[in-house]
Symmetry: C2
Subunit: 124 residues, 2 copies
Amino acid sequence: MQETENAPVITGDHRELLDQLLDKWSLHVLDQLCEQGALRFNELRRAIPTITQKSLTSTLRRLERNGMIDRVVLSDRPVAVEYRIAPVGHSLQELIDALLRWTTTHLPDVRLARERFDAEFEEK
Amino acid sequence: MQETENAPVITGDHRELLDQLLDKWSLHVLDQLCEQGALRFNELRRAIPTITQKSLTSTLRRLERNGMIDRVVLSDRPVAVEYRIAPVGHSLQELIDALLRWTTTHLPDVRLARERFDAEFEEK
DNA sequence: CCGCATCCTGCACGATACTG
DNA sequence: CAGTATCGTGCAGGATGCGG
């Protein structure tokens, strides 16, 4: 019978982790690091022009804490740091790509749906 | 030929849409509706006990506006409404499941990484 | 049963200035 | 170059009460 198939119940832990990986900036950072393998702090800033320095810092810290990326000190004087995608983080890449592909594919549908919804709402 | 493979550049539109689909509650709602097909308002409340009525309402509106779900009026007196997963929304199910499976699988890794990170931070 | 209207609070994020 | 420190603010989301 149906057995609810594989019952993907969403626990608080799931939600918390997803919040930390799919938030406003993490996706950008992960995406960049997955593609480039490793990037310097300011290279990331340039790759994601709209991100604030503060946000980039906190995003990197969070991703590092969750084991998604590694912070590698290249030298002390001058200070040089590199951020590398970690194995666990890399396992996310295909998922992220799938997410982006889905949005790209269905963006037209969504736009149409929105127009319809808004128009219908306008009538009243 | 690296060609950056399929270059999944993240635009503002991507980000906005993902924000509306992967936010705190949408995932729960979509997940429920995908599994059950259709649910009443209060059935959803019971299925997601921690959600507020206000949040459920706004989440449902947003998902409806984006074409992910359909709001079906069953009767007027007494008021009876049903929310059904729409085709576009259904195409998200496997993606959501993949997301949940990934977190379930890698949660141990993440926990370990966090402990290490926090411990290392403690030392200083 | 299915919502809408308000009030309220935290906190995510931006802007800006400073440091080794 | 790679950050830390501080201030200001919008707004998501909880709590509560009312209404058809």
